[in-house]
Chain length 395, copies 2
């Protein structure tokens, strides 16, 4: 079966997370991803542990479906070779600090001279404009700066960083969206363009209603712990052996929930019989529920609440996530055979397309695994030309 992005040629200069995440998504849907890595060293994340037979599990988890060529972009012959590749490519993606590509002589202005329809996508910490543009950013810095930490954490407690690198990952997602919109426009008009995505901008874009709440109330929202700001009960409770999240989203669920936890008298209690009243009288209500929830184990509550249709979930750790029947049924844990690391497990393809399903066809490449194949197959170089490029240290 064909893939949605078959034939889309992407030159991928990105490292570590935001950029590689974006190109992984494109590769999953069939784009040809040519990952250009520094000679000898490669993507920085190849040095991130833990390792399997010397291969970084971190690197392997986000670089499937890509081919690796090593190039030394400080070598003039490598730059010439890169420019030859740009002539035949649809998309260039980079996540260097702004200005680096220009210093190498391959900024957007230079590349569009070579290929006017090229789509040039840049993922950076702060974007290619503005006073912070040239600063280095890390995920933790943009999480702190962009506001998400200020609304995450135990109620009344300190701000907390989101445990996965949401600053990088959301930038990767926005970058993929920008690239695909540009591809649509190119298919219609033949025109290329530059797509500039900043990690900090994306943090603003995912704040949900925090910004509008601030503008209306004049008060900055604070960490709320696990409680929903405007629905009660909608939070975690301790059970006999752990914790459970319950989401009593409306009054009909409220009645079912009260019956199930053995407190039917609360359903019509004047203090609690509507959601606004449950919010107002939260401090009175919570102890009743908290005490009731301690009487069964998490697994027992799961069974009971599922049966009466009250949305719930245990707080799964990673081991539990990987055993979850829905996660498994959706193929969200993929097993991949890596030539060096052997069988490894990585997240599956989250976008399920009926006509052109995504697929993990290739494990993450070893460093420079496809250098010869790309130089000969994609660029038509002769063995002598390839030998020369290696000799001068260009690839």
């Amino acid at each position: 079966m064909s893939k949605a992005l078959e034939g889309l040629r992407v030159l991928d200069l990105t490292r570590v997370l935001a950029g590689p995440y974006a190109t992984m998504l494109l590769g999953d849907m069939g784009a040809d991803i040519i990952k250009i890595e520094a000679v000898g060293h490669g993507d920085d994340s190849r040095q991130f542990g833990p390792y399997v037979n010397g291969e970084s599990a971190y690197f392997m988890s986000i670089n499937r479906n890509k081919k690796s060529i090593t190039m030394n972009l400080k070598n003039p012959e490598a730059i010439e070779t890169f420019k030859e590749m740009v002539k035949k490519a649809d998309v260039v993606v980079e996540n260097f600090r702004p200005g680096t590509m220009e210093k190498l002589g391959i900024g957007y202005e230079a590349l569009k001279e070579i290929n006017p329809s090229i789509i040039y996508a840049a993922a950076s910490g702060f974007g290619h404009t503005g006073p912070y543009s040239k600063r280095a950013a890390y995920d933790a810095v943009v999480q702190a700066m962009g506001g998400i930490m200020s609304i995450t954490g135990p109620a009344g407690g300190p701000p907390v960083r989101v445990g996965s690198s949401i600053g990088d990952i959301t930038a990767g997602l926005f970058c993929a969206i920008g690239i695909l919109a540009a591809v649509c426009h190119k298919k219609d008009t033949g025109e290329g363009q530059k797509v500039d995505v900043a990690m900090l901008d994306c943090q603003i874009a995912i704040l949900e209603n925090a910004i509008s709440r601030y503008f209306v109330t004049g008060v900055s929202p604070k960490p709320q712990g696990n409680r929903h700001p405007s629905i009660v009960p909608f939070e975690t409770f301790d059970t006999a052996d752990g914790i459970i999240m319950v989401a009593v989203g409306n009054d009909s669920l409220w009645a079912k929930f009260c019956n199930e936890i053995g407190l039917p008298e609360l359903i019509e209690d004047e203090r609690f019989n509507t959601n606004p009243k449950r919010i107002d009288n939260y401090d009175e209500l919570r102890p009743f529920i908290a005490e009731a929830m301690l009487k069964k184990t998490t697994a027992e509550w799961q069974d009971a609440l599922d049966k009466c249709g009250v949305p719930e979930s245990p707080i799964n750790n990673i081991e539990m996530v990987l055993k979850n029947p829905q996660v498994l049924a959706r193929d969200m844990i993929a097993e991949v055979e890596h030539p060096v690391a052997g069988a490894t497990k990585i997240p599956g393809v989250a976008i399920k397309m009926s006509g052109t399903p995504g697929e993990i066809e290739l494990p993450a490449p070893t460093l420079g695994q496809h250098t010869d194949e790309i130089l000969s197959g994609f660029l038509g170089k002769t063995p002598e030309e390839i030998a020369h490029l290696k000799e001068v240290g260009a690839v």
Copy 2:
């Protein structure tokens, strides 16, 4: 200037967050978003406070660039009218519980009979397959189930929900990517398809390296607070008047940082002179830094660390985010004039495209604001036909 997705016609049946977030992204880039809302009631999030002149700030923040038509999809004439719209549309997006569209007679199988090239995108809690498929989900439930809570929170403390609805928002982002990939495929082949995105799947996809770490080590990662798992020092410290995040990403920054905080003797200290040693001797190292950081205010440290190039950020609350010079320079806070609410501020467009820049052209619609315009302009209905549809309660 033209827009990247100009001419793309999207019928948007979605409510609250994941679906509306996806169609907002498409609308920002020029797609025509026809938001179909329940007669009288509309998108559920129109009832979410806080309100400005009776209009929900929540709703307004994610429904710009859309036109609203009200339809009662339980009325057979409304279903006929919807099917007429499908004939002229490129994309249908819905986020009902799986099975709802089939019950209404407008599931993917029915719609592709009418328009074989239609792209049908569904965002749901658990997806359209698997044992949990028919269950209701809320953001808090998928955050608990998908593992991100188990790695978010103070070190040694309880798991914490991410303060913005990342379960919905990432599903919206993946959904937009799936739709655009399907649009690319349709432009090449004329073929439509179904795109099925589950909030839970997306939670697995954003776990970063937690899954591969588990497979290599056999240990489920735990909440780490604000500390980086493999770089030191890379975390928050208390200052004289608040908190600051510092990200000392390599040994060269380590030297600059030690000099700046008045502890140059630590640079070459045998216990701390490489990152692996700083990790091993973390408990010895932290008190030195913590004490030093208390000596200046957050603003003073910002100045000092910026000057020597050490990445840092205060933990901005929403008020501070909205005053940040980079956020403002990037137009990430947009002012929109709403016909009822007046001037409101909402997040800007995060994807910056040089050739076809996104734009906020329309404020969020009032309920049914464009019903007549869509029926006459898009479907070519006469005033009499429109009056009839209203009379029978179809629109």
